[in-house]
């Protein structure tokens, strides 16, 4: 097979164009570096290819997405839990569901935009409860980069630490949050009674224009991608200014196979396969940045073996792939009679919640460490596939029926449901990791990942607490819980690992080269010109979603790379 070897040497090769890769491309091109951005998926322009303002009836499937579009037919992501030609495997009896995107911008095209800045405690949990490990940096190290993201990308929310007394919910630089919807006020009312804080959500959606991007027009469709670029995605916020520098070369359909290295243990480039025609190419670069998503980046390193690195590049510690973490997830829904027969109003708002509940309990009073936040949902959404399915089981209904009375019942019960989702912190454990499957390859012959994953009682107890709390809120609202109680044998309703799509931890950072892969600048201990910019460097999760932190770290790491590159010291 003929392999094309490019003669040009880039200053930096970045693998993956999502949150981490997009940010690296932005910061590094701005600093003057010539950057090649390899992306396994196709180019995708939300303004042209997105489905904003489409109606369910614009499609014969009415929004049903199936395997190719697990979040619905109009969802703005190419990818899924299962992709033809790109398998992954699991150890017998274990389960990890792996969501992957294959397109310019990766999962940032359709992510939920819930952007929760982590707090000081989130980087020093071991110091507090003795579990897991502490980060090699503190909140103060990363704070300026969170501020950068707030200012440059834009985020709405408010500063509530002084009001709620929640010291681990730091202030940020926020645009005005949108007022709550009716049902959200009702939820807040119940939370007030239960002394559970319920405060404006923090989402990377513009409520005021910023850097040439328009303010949100409240169509509620962020998951389809935003045609006016009012929410954050890598291709609409990070890549345009990078492209403007003239320093960025985007290479779509480029599935990285291996990071190449020399005898001195330096990365020299990346070899990739063009997924449209199978052409193999090697690209040379002075510095390599991995941002292919936590598990893909680990897979790349594990597949990049050489005499010097028999267990994979930068992996003489054997830590690559270890400590795989996701957020915990569990949901409870309810029917709220007060919401029956409400006047018709447009409740779209932004594409997500306007209020949420940050973690509020003191763990010293509980039988489990770490916490969760609550994401709320409900409202009169666009009817689509699956609309009010199972009405015969609806507690507000008549147990079935047909005819005019049934038609009226659908009208009455529309928009009367509320949902509460727990998103919480998992403690990294030794039993959760990914490795190369010794037998299975993908369609390009690249060995695939095999996953191992286990929850512990730390997470189960948290889910139990969540179930109890959500039921209490629904009942305080005068509602009926419609989700059955899940017991210990059902992990109290915990979703399987991977399901919350907050994969991280597989190329962890630390001060100790024997126990970590990266130093505090996300630079490989063993390969000085190799960096990681996605969720893989994370030492632990927080009870807060991780992407704002991926972005802040990618900014910090890229700034460090730029400094070192200018000094020619790496």
């Amino acid at each position: 097979m003929q392999v094309i070897e490019s003669s040009k040497e880039y200053d930096v090769i970045i693998v993956g164009s999502g949150a981490g890769g997009g940010m690296a491309a932005y910061v590094l091109t701005k600093a003057g570096a010539n950057v090649a951005l390899l992306e396994a998926g196709a180019l995708w322009d939300v303004a042209k290819d997105g489905a904003m303002f489409k109606w369910s009836y614009d499609s014969p499937r009415r929004g049903f997405g199936g395997k190719e579009k697990p979040f619905g037919e109009f969802d703005g992501c190419i990818g899924g839990w299962e992709m033809d030609g790109e398998p992954y495997t699991m150890a017998p009896g274990e389960r990890w569901d792996w969501f992957r995107a294959r397109m310019l911008g990766g999962r940032t095209n359709h992510w939920g935009r819930i952007s929760l800045r982590w707090g000081p405690d989130d980087f020093r949990r071991k110091g507090i409860d003795g579990l897991g490990d502490d980060w090699p940096i503190t909140y103060d190290d990363i704070k300026p980069y969170y501020d950068n993201c707030d200012r440059f990308i834009g985020i709405f929310g408010n500063n509530h630490a002084s009001e709620t007394g929640l010291h681990n919910e730091p202030d940020g630089i926020f645009q005005p949050p949108p007022k709550p919807r009716g049902y959200e006020l009702l939820i807040k009312d119940a939370c007030d009674k239960l002394k559970i804080p319920c405060v404006p959500a923090r989402m990377s959606i513009l409520t005021q224009p910023l850097n040439g991007r328009a303010a949100c027009h409240y169509c509620g469709q962020c998951g389809r991608g935003c045609g006016t670029h009012s929410n954050f995605s890598s291709p609409t916020v990070l890549l345009p200014p990078a492209e403007k520098t003239g320093k960025l070369t985007v290479v779509p359909h480029a599935m990285a196979r291996e990071v190449l290295s020399d005898d001195e243990g330096r990365a020299t480039g990346v070899s990739y396969v063009n997924t449209t025609n199978g052409q193999e190419t090697t690209l040379r670069g002075k510095i390599v940045v991995l941002a292919a998503s936590a598990c893909e980046s680990a897979r790349l390193l594990l597949n990049s073996t050489s005499p010097r690195f028999p267990k994979g590049l930068a992996n003489n510690s054997g830590v690559v792939g270890k400590y795989l973490i996701d957020s915990t997830g569990m949901s409870v829904s309810g029917f709220i009679p007060k919401l029956v027969d409400l006047p018709s109003v447009n409740e779209d708002g932004v594409g997500g919640m306007h209020l949420y509940t940050p973690w509020w309990v003191d763990n010293r009073k509980l039988d489990f460490p770490r916490g969760y936040h609550i994401e709320i949902g409900g409202g009169r959404r666009m009817p689509g596939y699956g609309f009010m399915g199972g009405i015969e089981e609806h507690p507000g209904g008549s147990g079935g029926g047909y005819g005019k009375a049934l038609k009226e019942e659908y009208r009455r019960l529309y928009g009367t449901g509320v949902g509460f989702a727990l998103r919480g912190e998992m403690i990294p454990n030794k039993d959760s990791y990914c490795e190369i499957d010794p037998e299975v390859v993908d369609q390009w012959g690249i060995p695939v990942l095999r996953f191992h994953f286990k929850w512990s009682d730390h997470e189960r107890k948290q889910a139990k607490h969540g179930q109890e709390t959500f039921r209490e809120i629904i009942q305080t609202m005068g509602g009926t819980v419609t989700t059955p109680w899940r017991d210990h044998d059902q992990d109290y309703g915990l979703e399987p690992g991977g399901r919350i799509i907050h994969e991280s931890g597989t190329i962890r950072m630390g001060n100790e080269p024997k126990a970590s892969v990266l130093n505090k600048y996300c630079q490989a201990h063993e390969v000085p010109n190799l960096f990681v910019c996605d969720g893989a460097p994370f030492v632990s999760q927080a009870d807060k979603n991780l992407t704002w932190t991926i972005l802040a770290f990618a900014w910090r790491t890229s700034e460090y790379i730029a400094e070192q590159w200018k000094k020619r010291s790496i």
């Binding site: 303002f53 109606w55 369910s56 009836y57 014969p60 499937r61 009415r62 049903f64 997405g65 199936g66 395997k67 033809d84 005005p176 007022k179 709550p180 009716g182 006020l185 009702l186 009312d189 404006p200 409520t207 005021q208 027009h217 409240y218 169509c219 509620g220 469709q221 829904s333 309810g334 007060k338 109003v345 447009n346 409740e347 779209d348 708002g349 409900g378 959404r381 689509g384 699956g386 609309f387 009010m388 399915g389 199972g390 009405i391 015969e392 089981e393 609806h394 147990g399 079935g400 029926g401 047909y402 049934l406 659908y410 509320v418 949902g419 109890e468 009942q475 819980v481 989700t483 059955p484």
Partner: protein
């Protein structure tokens, strides 16, 4: 906590109350199969539209399709506010979905057969040939699963619930249905002003005390 758990109606499965997550899990077909099914159904629709002839079902036989049309209109008939399920194109939608998602074909076809057998036993003729009162007599027995189970008609009830769900999706996600149910979104709104007073009053909530978060001078507030 067990009190809260006990107050649970144990038979209830998790409801699709939010109506956002596709209801059907575990449907398996390859991308190519789905694309092909889609294409066939589209071609059929287009051909029917071009020739101004009746829609030719791709999955159902003519007889099955006629029965389905009667059933969906019994489930969601026309009333003073909007048209019927067939007015909203529900039979075409169901036919399409069955080609698109073959896993439900047997349940639907078998269910229609069950219905005809039941009518034959009771009235000596197929469902479509039954008088309106005969048809509703059967529905009265299978449209409420709990009642149906007590009468030993759980298979009929299961089938009917499936058709009711498909009818609801097909109807309410159509243009007719969206307008009927009063979904007012999916439009660009220059400002977000929160819930109107009539809603606040009905819910007994207000924005009072939240001025600290939602300053009136802010855009969108």
């Amino acid at each position: 906590m067990s009190e809260t758990a006990m107050s649970e109606i144990s038979r209830r499965k998790a409801l699709q109350v939010l109506g956002t997550v596709p209801a059907a899990a575990g449907i398996s077909w390859t991308g190519a199969e789905a694309a092909q099914a889609h294409q066939h159904a589209e071609q059929a629709r287009q051909a029917a539209a071009d020739e101004k002839t009746a829609y030719e079902p791709k999955f159902f036989t003519k007889a099955e399709y006629a029965t389905l049309g009667i059933l969906v209109d019994l489930i969601l008939p026309a009333d003073e506010r909007s048209g019927s399920a067939t007015d909203a194109g529900v039979p075409e939608f169901i036919d399409f979905m069955l080609v698109d998602q073959p896993t439900r074909q047997t349940a639907l076809r078998g269910g229609l057969r069950w219905l005809d057998r039941e009518c034959d036993t009771r009235f000596g003729k197929a469902f479509a040939a039954c008088a309106a009162a005969e048809q509703t007599a059967i529905l009265d027995d299978i449209a409420w699963p709990e009642k149906a189970e007590a009468k030993g008609l759980s298979h009929g009830a299961r089938f009917f619930s499936l058709v009711r769900d498909l009818t609801a999706t097909g109807f309410w996600s159509s243009k007719v249905g969206v307008e009927d149910i009063g979904y007012l979104g999916n439009v660009p709104a220059p400002k977000w002003t929160g819930a109107p007073d009539e809603v606040l009053q009905k819910l007994g909530v207000s924005y009072d005390g939240l001025e600290k978060w939602y300053r009136p001078t802010d855009a969108g507030a």
